[in-house]
Each structure stands twice: as C-alpha cells, then as structure tokens.
C-alpha cells in the first residue's frame, strides 16, 4: 500500500470537490472492500475522501411514499430498519445474507454498490486482468472460473459483481442518487452497474468526481411480497454461487400483476430478468409459468468450462422464490365444497 492523503468531508459538496480535485482520489465509506484492495495493491489512491461522516446516515420516508436510504447508512442498520424490513423484505434479506455482522456494521449503502469483483485474478497483481489492468488479458478465462459469469460476459472479462444488496435493489426498481460537479442525478439501480463489454475496468456508470448520496426505494414496490435467496458453499459468510431477488404481486384472478426479478453472481452486474418479467406479466402465478419464464431468461446464458452449474442453480432458486411469493394455489372447488 502506498502512502496517501486523507480528507474528511463535512458536506456532499465538499466531498465532490475533493474528488474532482485529484484524479487519484477515492471515496472511503466503511472501507471494508477499499482497504482490502489497497492492501492487495489493487487500489492505489493518492488521497482518500472520507465520506463516512457525511449527513447521509438516515433512512426516511419521502412524501410520495418512497423510502430513501442515505449513502452512509451502515448495511446492518439498513437491514434492521422497520421501513426496510416491513416494506422491502427482499432488501433486508439480501443485506443479511451478505458478509458478516462485523462487516455489515462497517459497510455502507454506497460502498456496497461500489464494491469490486472478488475474482481471484483481479485481486492478484501478478496475473493478467483486463478489469484491473486494461489490455493485460483475462486470467480467469484461461485459469479457474467456477465462480464466474454465465450471462453478459465479454471476451475481456468474466467477473461477477459480488453484492447481494444490489440484486435486491434491482428487483425492487430502486434508483441510485448521485452527486457531482454537474449536480445531482439519479440512475435506476439495474442500470447503475454495467456489463463488461470492451471496458471491464468500468464497473458502473458513475462519472469521475461523482459520489453516491443514497438509494431510493419506490412507493410502487413498497409492501409487495418480496424475497431474496442465495446459494453458497458455506452456510454463512460466503459469496453467492447464485442468488435471486424477486418481487411479486398477483391479481385476484391469480395472474401476475407485477414482477421484479434479478439474479446475483451470474453476471458483471445484478442481472435484471427482463425477458422473464415480460413473459410473466399477466401470466398465471404458477410454478409452471415461473419455470417457463425463467428458462426463457436463461436461454441467454453462456456458461464456461467450470460454471455450468450456475444455470440450473439460478433456475431452481428463481422458481422457488417466485413460488413462495405467489399465493398458495387454491384447492379445486370440489375438494372444498364438502368441508
């Protein structure tokens, strides 16, 4: 780790100015990933702009019924907040499925979104990695890649995004609020992270000098049934092999009125299952139609040598979570008439 300067920002504007002032500046939130990567030499900031004490540490209901979580709200506080637990259970569950109690106490909302891939080749300076060193090649494609992407990868990068939280935000139609020299803007959560394409070094659409100020969960998905499920090698404290966040609202006739579905650990970003969602809208909320829709989505999968298991795993998870969210299948009338 090389020596670096340190600035503690008191306001969002001050933080943005400090970030803009030095190209080698990085935001320090909880530090749980940034400091990890600095020790590995992957991140080499000239100066850290500490945003950990900015007044962005609250979760509040906005007048339109949406809920804003500030960028510095700690993951554990966000997961425990009644507005989140009661209205957006998938988000609370996703946060609690990630990392450990200690890490969640330090990690922030903004930092969680900006965490980098856990690809071991990205973390090892002695290996080629187009994300870390553009043009150097992809060590993972050449070497081992059991944990890597099956959707949306490019010849340059097969890394996955490790966040659980971001998967729930994508399914819940959340948006990410940003602030920079050109003012404030918001980006849909499922458009915040990007696919690797020719520029795997860019994880997100954040612009130089911008910082995350918060995420907003819309009123539209508040209190809809939602859930998150993750499969992993270890019962706790492990990154996902695959995960699913789903939001499902059904009409009185048993058809799907609203669905949000996103996969984690399958791609360079939380994978919003738009084809499956389109297929499901208005379709019966039954395991069969869930399975058909998810299969349609996963037709796009291009597994590599070591990670073909992710496709059936993701399929099973999605069908399972959607089925649990759907109202129980009503028993046929002739069974209930006599009872």
């Amino acid at each position: 780790m090389k020596p670096f300067g340190y600035v503690r920002a008191a306001t969002v504007e001050e933080a943005a100015e400090a970030l803009a002032a030095r190209p080698g500046a990085r935001c320090l939130g909880g530090g749980t990933n940034l400091v990890d990567l600095m020790k590995l030499g992957v991140e080499r900031p000239d100066v850290l702009v500490d945003v950990g004490r900015l007044p962005l540490d609250t979760v509040e209901e906005l007048p339109d019924g949406s809920v804003r979580a500030g960028a510095t709200v700690r993951n554990s506080d966000l997961a425990a907040h009644p507005l989140v637990r009661d209205r957006y259970p998938a988000l609370s569950q996703a946060l609690l499925a990630g990392a450990s109690g200690q890490l969640r106490n330090a990690a922030t909302t903004g930092g969680n979104l900006l965490q980098r891939t856990r690809c071991p080749h990205f973390q090892d300076l002695s290996k080629p990695c187009n994300k870390r060193a553009p043009g150097s090649g992809c060590g993972a494609r050449e070497g081992t890649h059991r944990d890597h992407a099956v959707l949306g990868h490019s010849e340059h990068c097969i890394a996955t995004h490790p966040s659980d939280m971001a998967v729930a935000l994508a399914a819940l139609d959340a948006r990410v609020e940003l602030y920079g020299g050109q003012g404030a803007r918001a980006v849909p959560a499922d458009r915040f992270h990007r696919l690797p394409g020719d520029h795997p070094e860019r994880d997100t659409v954040i612009r130089p000098g911008e910082l995350i100020t918060g995420v907003v969960l819309p009123a539209a998905t508040a209190a809809l049934p939602s859930a998150y499920r993750k499969a992993r090698d270890r019962a706790s404290y492990a990154f996902a092999l695959a995960s699913v966040a789903a939001v499902l609202d059904t009409a009185d006739d048993g058809t799907v009125a609203h669905v949000g579905l996103a996969f984690g650990a399958l791609a360079h970003k939380p994978w919003r299952a738009e084809r499956a969602e389109t297929a499901l809208r208005g379709a019966p909320a039954t395991p069969d139609s869930f399975a058909r829709a998810v299969d349609l989505e996963l037709e796009a999968a291009r597994p590599l040598r070591d990670n073909g298991y992710k496709v059936p795993l993701a399929r099973n998870l999605a069908v399972d979570v959607l089925t649990r969210l759907a109202p129980p299948v009503r028993p046929a009338r002739h069974l209930t008439e006599d009872s």
């Binding site: 020596p3 070497g143 706790s236 492990a238 298991y309 059936p312 795993l313 099973n316 399972d320």
Partner: protein
C-alpha cells in the same frame, strides 16, 4: 483431585485459559521488543523458472525500509534437511509462491509497500501442475510419509476380485486442502551478542532449535526458542517453516529484532498443504459380506522441492480382515507447492475413501453398514499379523448406533424428505495409530510443598499445561493445584513435537517417569527440602521409541445426519456423533474439545473445503479465507463426542492413545455416506458443494460401478 490418583481423567480447566480469554496470552508476533522491525516476503509470480534479476532500488528508497534480502545477498545457510527451508539461497523457482526476496522495514505498512516495490525478472519454463491418475511421470516411491512402505501386498488381490460374487470398484478424489490455523505462521528473532532468541509459532520448539543451529552454524545452547502460545497448527507448524529462517536472517542482517508474520494468502504456497489424492478401491466380498480382497491404490502429487507422499492407503492395512490385499502409493512430482502434514495425514483422506467404499459395499450387499464393519473385524492387524494392544471398534459402532438412534433408520436411499430437503444418515469408522516419541522431563519438589514439572512440550490448543500437571499430580500423589508446569521454551528439557497425536503420550511418559524418580528420591529424605528443592529427570529414549509386539491404534465411529436441499444442492449437517476408543482419556474436558474439533474439520473436508490448482498459473485459486471455506459457526450444529474407556497397559504409563487426529478421520466419510442415503446418488469427489451436488441430483443416474454379479 485430592492426591489419591484421581487427577487423571478429571475435567481440569485449562491453565492458560484466563490469559486466552483476556487477551493476555502472547503469540509469536506479539512480544514487545524495543526497535523491533517487520519483514515481508516476496513470492515468486511464475510457476517454474529462475530469477534472472532483482531490482531492489525502488523498494530501498521507500520510507522506513532497512534492507531487501534476495538470493544474491542473503546470509548463506548450511544445507537444510528440509529443502523448503533453503530460502533465498539460489535463483531457482520451483513453484509459484516460492519466496524470492524479503523486505525489512520499520513498520508492517512500510514492509508491505517495500515488498510490493521489489521488481523481479524471471526466465520462465513450462510448468505442469495437473495431477492425473495416469500421469506418465507417476512412480512408486520407496516409502510414503512416516516411513510406511509404499506398497504392501499379500494373498492374491486381483484373483480375489475377479472371482468375487460381490464387488465394488470405485474411485474417489480428495482435493488439496489447507491447514489454515487461525494464527498465520509467524516468528520474531533477535540476536543478543552471540545468542539467538526466537519466538515462533511452531508445534515443536526443540526441533526449531536444532534446525536453526544447523542452518546458521550455531551451537544449540546459544539458541532459545519460545513457543509459549501457538495459535493452532494442524500439522502445518510441525516442523520449522520459512518464516523462522527468514526472521533469523533478517535479524542478523539488520541487527534489529525482526518479526516475520506470513500473510494469510501466502500460506497455501509455503507452509505445506494436504496433497490431493486420487483413490481407486476394489473390494471383493462373498455373498455373506465377508471381504475376500481389499485393494487401495492412490496417486498423489509432490513438489520438485521434495518428495512427500500422503500415506492414504495405509489405514487399509489396519481396518478389515481380508485374506488378499494390495495397498499402493504412487506420486507425481509437479511444479506445485510442497505438500506436508495436515491433521491425520494419510488416515484422513484414506479413510474417507475406504469408508465410503465400505458403504458402497453395504449398499451392494443390502447389508447394514454397521453390521458389515462388525462382520469384517480382524482378529489381528491384517498387514502385520500383530495382535492389537486394544481394539474396540465394534463397541464404538454399537455405542454410537445406540446413541444416534441408528435402529430407527430406513436404509433405503432417498426415503426421507422434509419439503425440499432430502434427509439422510451415514456411518463411518475411524482409526489412527498410536505414536509416541522420546522426550525428557524434569520434576522438582519445592520446600513449600509445591512441584514444578519442566518439559519443552508445546500447547497448540490441546491443553498440554493442564494435562501434564494432571499426569504429574497423579504420579506424585498430590493435589493438582500443587503442580505447576513449564512448557514452550527450548531451555527446558528437550521434548518431541505436538504432532501425530503423540504429544501427551510422549511428554506425559517422561513427566511420569521424572515424577516417579522424584517420589523415590523424596521417600528417602527427612526434614526440610533445600531452597532450590529436589529434582529428578527422565529420558524415555529407547523405551518410548521401542518396537512394540502389538499393533497399537485408536479407533472410532462417526454418525452423521445431513440435509440436502433439492433446490440448490446445498448440503448441511444437522448432527454429528462420534464415539472413540482411545485408551485412557486424561482430561475429559479438553479431550472432548479435541474430538469435536477434529470432527468439525472433517465436516469442512466433506462439505466446504477444497482447493484448486490452477492449471494455467500454478497456484491455488482458493488462497484466502474468503474463498477457502473453513466451516463457519452456521455450518456446525450439534456435535457430540463420546468415548469408551479402554484399559490398555501396552501403551505408556498413563494408558493413553492420541486424540488430536482421530476425530478428523472418517468424519467426512460419514457425511458423504449420509448424503448418499439422502439422495440415492454417490458423490465421489470432495467437497460436496452445490455445483457438484445439484448436477448429481438433476443429472442422469451415474452408471453403476458396483453390484452383485448375476
């Protein structure tokens, strides 16, 4: 504990426990020394080749940097017995991660930055790191680890197999595994004039002293090695590792006390690992279930640095009565890190395979796997023909079955489900040899009526201080609280390492003998003792290491219940129960902890732990604790350990067998057998992670590899 011989076996509380729960116990990197500096090694970044140039200028220009050692300027060492210790002696790179430089600086941060700034150029050679069963360079070594013959054969195993009515012919694969003690390897060295003082995290300080004396050309009496507290080892600290050599070198070069604390990510490459083992087992049985042939052949890897052969076919020489048998080890030297001991080397992977195959045989026969094992109990050790000093495997199986509720089991595979969860139970046997090594000890009686026992034993978490005090109190016939133990310092009477489940037996024997002599001396005395007290020493050389006419092994039985999630392929253990016959249990409290700990490591081997040798880069992909999954709290449910008291007078004066490893032997097989029972699918490659299990659950039924003829 009133001095009437009842101290042994009592659940005495760990003597260092208070220091450990308050943070007062100091480990090797934690000794406050004025001017102490930090060194960080630089690993090679190629899988095979040699260093052609090292540019240290940028590193030396950084703040706080005192030195950068390379093969060009590091102190010359005498040739070590263990070639993994010949660090910075030549430009060769035998595997990725081999140390090529050492940066020394005032602070850990400065040392880290300096290590990162060292520029190394290599001449790269083609590498081969991939172990296959039919690798053209596989050969049969003379011996496997611990001196076991690589091959043993009797009867006509091939003929027995060809003619058997019931046959099992199966292969298993155990991946590379990493010890990962919670304390990474660390050493602090300082020179005081011509004296060398070392704090190191090692399972045996006496051997560290001897090694350093040889490497640096020093008389042993000028070296003191402190191993007061060691944060686990599990074999990876059984002998000195490069950290201690580097620390001594750097201290000599800089004239300052130096700490080398290895980064966690370095450990897989430089402290040893459990080598992968490819097993082929052929079991031949009559229709009555009696084995007629047993063949266990393994292929494993070692490095170019030295030959280490995981003795995984050895337990098959102990376990079952079969008139024909072949056990064989083959090894391939590859461009991989050097493997070494990991808890129950040989027995652990070997018994996973053997006990899985026995379960397959039970399935093929339609026999209960407990009964099948009982049926094949040998009267003498099959390989040596020696009588057992004691063998209570049947009792362990029966007692375990009773406690576990085995009789309520529906033996049909995939017969039990709870919603999406498939539930199954499994059993496996365990064995581990009784090892004992010569040690010395001193016992001293003081005028205030207390006693001091001195022996350079090492407490790696076993509770050595406590149990040795119990041995002494029992022998002296005094209350436990009147005995103090001094261990973990090479100025104490030399003793063997904490490894091979031999520590307590080896040290305890010497303590027992010293206390017996002391009792004799005290018996002839009247009046007050001199101020310095009266002491007696003992040395068990020639007795502890004498050949025994008996086959001496501990045995055990594991039972496990698992759930397999049919949605995800996730396997979780619900409960584990082990029953062990390991001689006399000397401390019920610490022994239970060791048994449970071994079983937990077996759980990890079965379900979560696995390392991958990257064929392109020649390193282990799972190099940190985020990717190499040591079981976490949530993985480990109710784990119960019980034991059967054995009265075996053919062991040592305490009547004890080792307990540190047997809990780890066979537990993975019990879990794997439970997964078969839950799913009806036989998985033959560990660990049983969702990628493999889900594929097995949804894929076509594997082609039968076993079954009854006709």
């Amino acid at each position: 504990m009133t001095g009437t011989g009842t101290a042994l076996g009592a659940p005495a509380v760990r003597r260092e426990g208070r220091r450990k729960v308050t943070g007062g116990a100091r480990y090797a990197a934690e000794h406050p020394l004025a001017d102490r500096v930090h060194a960080r090694p630089v690993p090679a970044t190629v899988a095979r080749g040699r260093v052609t140039a090292v540019d240290t200028a940028a590193a030396l220009a950084l703040p706080g940097v005192l030195a950068v050692l390379t093969h060009e300027n590091a102190p010359r060492l005498a040739e070590p017995d263990d070639p993994t210790l010949a660090v910075l002696q030549d430009p060769g790179v035998p595997h990725r991660g081999w140390y090529v430089a050492l940066a020394v600086a005032r602070t850990p941060e400065e040392a880290r930055a300096a290590a990162a700034a060292v520029r190394v150029e290599y001449a790269v050679e083609e590498h081969d790191v991939t172990l296959t069963a039919d690798h053209p360079e596989a050969y049969e070594p003379e011996t496997a680890n611990a001196g076991y013959p690589a091959r043993r054969e009797y009867g006509d195993p091939d003929g027995a197999f060809a003619s058997a009515p019931v046959r099992v012919d199966v292969t298993y694969r155990v991946p590379p595994l990493h010890n990962h003690p919670m304390e990474p390897h660390a050493s602090t060295a300082r020179w005081e004039g011509d004296r060398l003082l070392v704090h190191t995290s090692s399972q045996g300080g006496t051997a560290v002293r001897a090694t350093l004396a040889a490497l640096f050309g020093l008389p042993e009496d000028r070296i003191t090695v402190d191993t007061a507290h060691v944060g686990g080892g599990f074999g990876s600290k059984g002998t000195p590792r490069p950290d201690v050599v580097l620390a001594v070198m750097a201290a000599r070069e800089t004239g300052r006390p130096v700490t080398v604390a290895l980064p966690r990510r370095h450990l897989p490459a430089v402290v040893g690992h459990r080598a992968p083992t490819l097993h082929r087992l052929r079991l031949a049985a009559g229709a009555d279930g009696r084995l007629t042939g047993l063949t266990h052949e393994i292929v494993t890897h070692s490095s170019r640095v030295k030959e280490f052969v995981e003795q995984a076919a050895v337990p098959a020489r102990v376990m079952y009565a079969a008139p024909s048998s072949r056990t064989l080890h083959r090894v391939v030297r590859l461009d991989v890190p050097t493997p070494s001991w990991m808890r129950a080397p040989g027995e652990c992977p070997g018994m996973y395979a053997l006990e899985s195959a026995v379960d397959e045989l039970a399935t093929a026969l339609g026999t209960d796997p407990v009964e099948l094992r009982v049926l094949n109990e040998p009267e003498r050790e099959p390989d040596s023909g020696k009588p057992f000093s004691s063998r209570h495997l049947t009792e362990c199986l029966r007692e375990g079955a009773r406690r576990f509720g085995w009789d309520r089991r529906d033996p049909r595979p995939r017969s039990r489900a709870e919603g999406p969860l498939l539930v199954g139970t499994g059993v496996a046997a365990a064995t581990y040899p009784v090892l004992v090594r010569p040690s010395t000890a001193e016992a001293r009686a003081l005028p205030d009526g207390t006693f001091v026992v001195r022996v350079n034993a090492t407490d790696i978490g076993t509770g050595a201080r406590t149990v040795l005090a119990q041995v002494a109190a029992d022998t002296l016939g005094v209350p436990l609280e009147r005995v103090r133990t001094e261990i973990g310092d090479s100025d104490l009477p030399p003793a063997s390492l904490a490894g091979g489940s031999s520590g307590t037996a080896s040290w305890g024997w010497a303590v027992h003998d010293a206390c017996t002599r002391l009792t004799g001396r005290l018996g002839g005395l009247t009046g007050r003792l001199p101020d310095e007290g009266i002491s007696a020493r003992a040395d068990t050389a020639g007795r502890a290491d004498a050949d025994s006419p008996y086959a001496r092994h501990a045995f055990g039985a594991h039972f496990a219940e698992v759930t397999v999630d049919s949605v995800t392929g996730e396997v979780r253990v619900r409960r584990m129960l082990g029953v062990f016959a390991a001689g006399r249990i000397l401390n019920a409290r610490t022994a239970r902890s060791q048994f449970i700990g071994g079983m937990t490591m077996g759980l990890g081997m079965a379900l979560t732990e696995g390392s991958t040798m990257d064929p392109a880069f020649g390193d282990f992909t799972e190099s940190d604790l985020a990717s190499y999954h040591v079981p976490a709290h949530a993985d480990v449910p109710a784990v119960e350990a019980h034991w059967i008291d054995e009265d075996d007078t053919r062991l040592n004066p305490m009547g004890s067998k080792g307990i540190g490893e047997i809990g780890n032997v066979g537990s993975a097989a019990a879990i794997g057998n439970a997964v078969h029972h839950a799913t009806g699918v036989r998985f033959r490659e560990l660990p049983l992670t969702p990628d493999k299990v889900l594929a097995g659950l949804s894929g076509p039924a594997p082609a039968p590899t076993s079954g009854r003829d006709g």
